[in-house]
């Protein structure tokens, strides 16, 4: 801002008055940015800072068990507790197992679907695209309720069908319930991820395939050798979002918990954080949230670094 004329303290310039078109004044810029940035500060940045601060506090009592409690600086005490908490590690282990299987399976299916949509091989494209994308309109809670009826031995037509061919599935059993939750996530997000990849495929100029076709490359070769490397960034992006989503998992297992005795209140890291907060141990809950966020961060960025190195970017 190099406008040295004496400022009149109102933002709108009077009509007809020519200003050098160096863009608006600071006050106007602020008026455009503040309506977003102030709530962003208050409801995004401040809570993150507050959670960090809380995670370094401990509750102390003045004299004896019935003394008044107050919080004091506790250094890394809360974190030490998180790391000693076996429930925390088993929830991380569960979610890790879930992610290692569910994320690749979902994204592979999404990629195959996107590649098929992008070839002349598949008819009824619009119908398939809409069908696959439809679950994205359903919130996780309602999707989990729908599927829980399909899992429940009393109501499910799927269980009936499988029983009639002599297989007795127990979708809510101790070994299966994690995969039943994984299936709900897969159903919800496969079509969405497919559309992201498909949008990237659509942006590739057709001329790229001409040379390959002249050399007699099959659709198969074109798909895996040309298309997939080009849309790699969108595959990385969907992976990162899937990793973040997996670590945050809450609603789907919480719904399945209503009909299965094999999901504990501390089944996923977020359920554990909520359970600890419900017990009024906010500082410990904050530390758990921070550790979840750190793990998310390390995995997301680690994955990005790893893939960009491999791609030689």
């Amino acid at each position: 801002m190099t406008d040295i004329s004496t400022r009149v303290p109102h933002v709108m310039s009077s009509p007809g008055r020519r200003r050098r078109s160096g863009g608006p004044r600071a006050g106007t810029v602020a008026a455009f940015v503040t309506p977003f940035f102030l709530p962003f500060l208050l409801f995004y940045v401040v809570p993150v800072g507050y959670a960090l601060w809380q995670s370094f506090r401990v509750v102390r009592r003045t004299g004896g068990q019935y003394g008044t409690s107050y919080t004091a600086f506790g250094g890394l005490d809360q974190y030490a507790q998180v790391f000693q908490n076996t429930e925390f590690w088993s929830s991380i282990g569960r979610i890790g197992l879930f992610g290692i299987v569910q994320v690749p399976v979902m994204l592979f299916v999404a990629l195959v679907m996107a590649l098929l949509l992008d070839t002349p091989l598949l008819r009824v494209k619009a119908f398939f695209r809409i069908t696959a994308f439809m679950p994205y309109a359903v919130p996780g809670v309602i999707a989990a309720i729908m599927w829980s009826y399909l899992y429940s031995p009393q109501l499910s037509p799927v269980v009936d069908l499988l029983t009639s061919v002599g297989w007795q599935p127990d979708f809510l059993g101790p070994g299966a319930v994690l995969w039943s939750a994984a299936n709900v996530s897969t159903w919800l997000w496969t079509g969405y991820n497919m559309l992201i990849m498909y949008a990237a495929l659509q942006a590739i100029p057709q001329e790229l395939y001409e040379a390959a076709k002249i050399d007699g490359a099959s659709q198969w070769t074109i798909a895996w050798r040309i298309k997939v490397p080009i849309i790699a960034p969108s595959i990385v992006l969907t992976t990162v979002f899937s990793i973040i989503g997996t670590l945050q998992l809450y609603a789907e297992p919480a719904v399945l918990r209503q009909i299965s005795s094999n999901i504990s209140s501390t089944f996923t890291p977020n359920m554990l954080a909520y359970a600890v907060a419900s017990g009024n141990n906010y500082q410990q809950a904050a530390a758990i949230s921070v550790v979840i966020a750190l793990i998310t961060f390390v995995l997301s960025f680690g994955f990005m670094r790893l893939t960009s190195k491999r791609a030689g970017l």
Partner: protein, 265 residues
């Protein structure tokens, strides 16, 4: 492909069939075959149960998700447009901070927000869910891309020369050019709020303030004690997702532009 189509449609088809049945037929008849057509009665029961609380939840959902997404879209558009079209000190820094916000999962914010709101006394009010919902860093990111792509600098310059103020330029010139993009931002924001179950669950105890998702979750937890609720949970799920699915299909093309922009890194 056929298998996948069946897979994606199965739960929705099951829900449609189940919502037309009387409660008694749910367990006793095949879940994939229609029996007695009882849909309208089910809907009537759904909307009259507990003094019509479901209708209340529907209105709340519209307030949180539709109104919240509309306000969120407007503030994202203003900010994204400023980041794209104005040059000012600290612009890049501001954008980096907002981009960092894209990677912060909203669930992680719910608990600390609850503690902060407890101190101010707005826990268990509309504002506790509404205010955090209007913030969408991803919306700003999209708005900036779209403003760069859709609003030529010359148009802004000529509006300025005509003596229009910046806000007037934005609302009369940029807003029109960005309309398709704004629909996309609105849709993304709507889904984010509609999907965010953790925030209302942490913030609200009063049933009368619940969105549909939280209400159905609560009913679903009571079906063991009140089996008749089962039918209302099923019908309520259907009633709440059908309008959203229809809107999604009608506005299909807006998704594609947004998803394409979202995958440009």
């Amino acid at each position: 492909m056929l298998l996948l189509t069946v897979y994606f449609l199965l739960p929705i088809y099951f829900l449609i069939v189940a919502a037309t049945k009387p409660q008694g037929d749910l367990a006793s008849t095949n879940g994939l075959v229609f029996s007695h057509f009882n849909l309208f009665d089910n809907i009537r029961v759904l909307f009259t149960r507990s003094d019509g609380i479901f209708g209340r939840w529907a209105v709340n959902t519209v307030i949180y998700a539709v109104l919240g997404a509309a306000v969120g879209t407007l503030v994202s558009a203003l900010c994204g447009y400023a980041l794209a079209k104005f040059s000012f000190r600290g612009r890049e820094f501001l954008f980096s901070v907002i981009l960092g916000g894209v990677l912060v999962p909203t669930t992680a914010l719910a608990l600390p927000l609850f503690l902060l709101f407890s101190a101010t006394g707005i826990v268990n009010t509309y504002l506790a869910v509404f205010l955090p919902s209007i913030v969408s860093p991803f919306g700003v990111y999209l708005a900036r891309i779209f403003a760069n792509a859709a609003v030529p600098q010359e148009l802004i310059e000529s509006a300025r020369l005509d003596g229009a103020g910046e806000f007037r330029t934005f609302f009369s010139v940029a807003f029109r050019l960005m309309t398709p993009a704004l629909v996309t931002i609105f849709l993304f924001q709507f889904v984010a709020i509609w999907n965010n179950f953790f925030l209302p669950m942490v913030m609200l105890q009063k049933e009368s303030l619940f969105p549909i998702t939280l209400g159905l979750y609560q009913w679903n937890g009571q079906t063991a004690r009140a089996p008749l609720l089962q039918q209302s949970v099923i019908t309520g799920s259907l009633v709440s997702i059908v309008p959203v699915i229809i809107v999604f299909i009608l506005l299909q093309r807006f998704w594609r532009t947004g998803l394409a922009a979202g995958s440009l890194k």
